[in-house]
């Protein structure tokens, strides 16, 4: 018996490594085929059985819903009114929570957008938060929590985060400029303030003009004046800062040319220059975080 067993072992030992490899490959192939068949069958069976059982399961669910609806109808008015009141309360709570979350989301997007700001030539961004506002000049002015200690000077442009294009591209746009500074605070006159004046360019029509604050804050438009007669801006044209004043880096988006009066987007003034309206990208009333481009001192 022991002799027979040792013979068998000797026979097995006779298999060459190539044969063993072939056996292994064959077994793997068989295993893969079986697994494939199993998977296909399983999927088919799942689909068939799910569809087969669907009407029965649906019927059971429908019956359950019908019973629940009937039970609801059978309940007295007081119980229903209480349930409704509870749901309304929950709804109000959820709506309030949603508003808070939306605000935080917006604030987060604004901060991310501002943090991504880079130097522009000799200008570096200084980040600040709106410190105080006055209801009397809500749209036109506000105070920020950074001042001359941070290098801020009168005339520096103030930018905020906004969404451009179709409202999905995060960017920064000019919202105003510094009108006065103290050591720790700075005062900003917004793009809608009558004190606001800035030299701007329209790259499309290769022209430049002076952007002035709004005639009427409720209109939410600024006036772009002193445009040459041979460069009539078209509606939707973007307005950017230029380097003429030396106070702001060129190429910062300021607003977009609009024709809100229902007439032509531009009108000639004494046939000497053109004047048009520009809508800022962001309403100054909603701004909370800003960045000020300050000139780095050598």
């Amino acid at each position: 018996m022991a002799f027979k067993k040792s013979n068998q072992l000797r026979d097995q030992a006779r298999y060459s490594p190539l044969q063993l490899l072939a056996w292994g490959a064959g077994l793997t192939l068989v295993f893969l085929i079986l697994f494939g068949i199993y998977s296909t069958l399983r999927r088919t069976a799942t689909r068939v059985s799910a569809d087969f059982y669907f009407p029965f399961l649906k019927a059971a669910r429908m019956a359950e819903n019908a019973v629940a609806d009937q039970a609801l109808v059978l309940q007295d008015k007081n119980t229903l009114a209480k349930a409704l009141q509870k749901l309304m309360k929950e709804n109000a709570m959820l709506a309030a929570e949603r508003t808070v979350v939306m605000d935080l989301k917006k604030e987060n997007a604004q901060l991310r957008s501002l943090i991504g700001l880079e130097r522009k030539g000799v200008f570096k961004p200084v980040f600040a938060e709106v410190l105080s506002r006055d209801p009397m000049t809500w749209q036109e002015q506000f105070t920020i929590d950074k001042g001359s200690d941070d290098g801020i000077e009168p005339g520096n442009p103030v930018v905020t985060s906004t969404l451009m294009g179709d409202g999905t591209v995060p960017a920064v746009a000019v919202i105003g400029k510094i009108s006065s500074v103290s050591r720790h605070t700075a005062h900003v006159c917004t793009i809608l303030s009558q004190d606001f004046k800035m030299s701007v360019s329209l790259p499309e029509s290769k022209s430049s003009g002076i952007l002035e604050g709004a005639r009427n804050a409720s209109d939410m438009y600024s006036s772009l004046k002193f445009l040459p007669l041979n460069a009539v801006p078209s509606e939707g044209q973007l307005v950017y800062t230029n380097a003429f004043s030396g106070n702001s880096p060129p190429g910062l988006p300021v607003g977009v040319v609009v024709a809100h009066t229902g007439i032509a987007p531009s009108s000639s003034r004494n046939q000497v220059y053109f004047e048009t309206d520009v809508r800022p990208f962001e309403s100054p009333a909603e701004v909370r975080f800003v960045a000020v481009y300050v000139k780095e001192k050598k």
């Binding site: 105080s132 006055d134 209801p135 009397m136 809500w138 036109e140 002015q141 506000f142 409720s218």
Partner: protein
């Protein structure tokens, strides 16, 4: 000295409260109420000093960034109202102070509108409902404030608002 410290401290406190509310878009002239109180209780000079201090705080430290303390004019008008109330109105009831209480927000708002607002008509239309609400609340707050400050003054040994008419009659 106590009176000076008292005026400076409470003016600063009122300005701070007013500026904080302004930051939320609410108009409520705490400083004007205090100036009204000081004008009656202590007389014109301390009242004008408080008004100037408050105007500097409201116009320079606040978000309106005025070049001059224009609010001083509004607060001077409040001092004028306090003298009118002291000399012309016979009643000594604290509750009747709801009338100047209701008038002060309008007075301060209208003067501020002339000197501080850039777009006056737009600001007028936007803020009028808020000022009506502030006026209503002020008609309740001013009598309460007079009572509270008089209680404090009594403990500090300072002149009382409620004694002002008596003093005037004795003179």
């Amino acid at each position: 000295m106590i009176r000076l410290t008292y005026i400076v401290f409470l003016t600063t406190l009122c300005v701070f409260a007013e500026l904080t509310l302004r930051g939320f878009g609410l108009f409520f002239p705490f400083a004007a109420f205090f100036v009204f109180y000081v004008a009656t209780a202590f007389g014109p000079r301390p009242a004008f000093a408080a008004a100037f201090l408050a105007a500097c705080g409201l116009d320079f430290a606040g978000g309106c960034g005025a070049a001059h303390p224009w609010s001083f004019l509004a607060l001077s008008a409040v001092i004028g109202l306090s003298f009118f109330w002291l000399h012309q109105v016979e009643s000594e009831s604290i509750l009747l102070h709801s009338v100047p209480g209701a008038a002060i927000p309008f007075m301060v708002w209208l003067v501020s509108l002339i000197f501080l607002a850039e777009h006056r008509f737009a600001a007028f239309a936007e803020q009028f409902p808020g000022v009506v609400l502030a006026s209503f609340l002020a008609s309740i707050l001013l009598p309460v404030m007079i009572y509270a400050l008089d209680t404090l003054n009594e403990k500090l040994g300072l002149d009382l608002y409620t004694d002002a008419k008596i003093k005037l009659k004795l003179q």
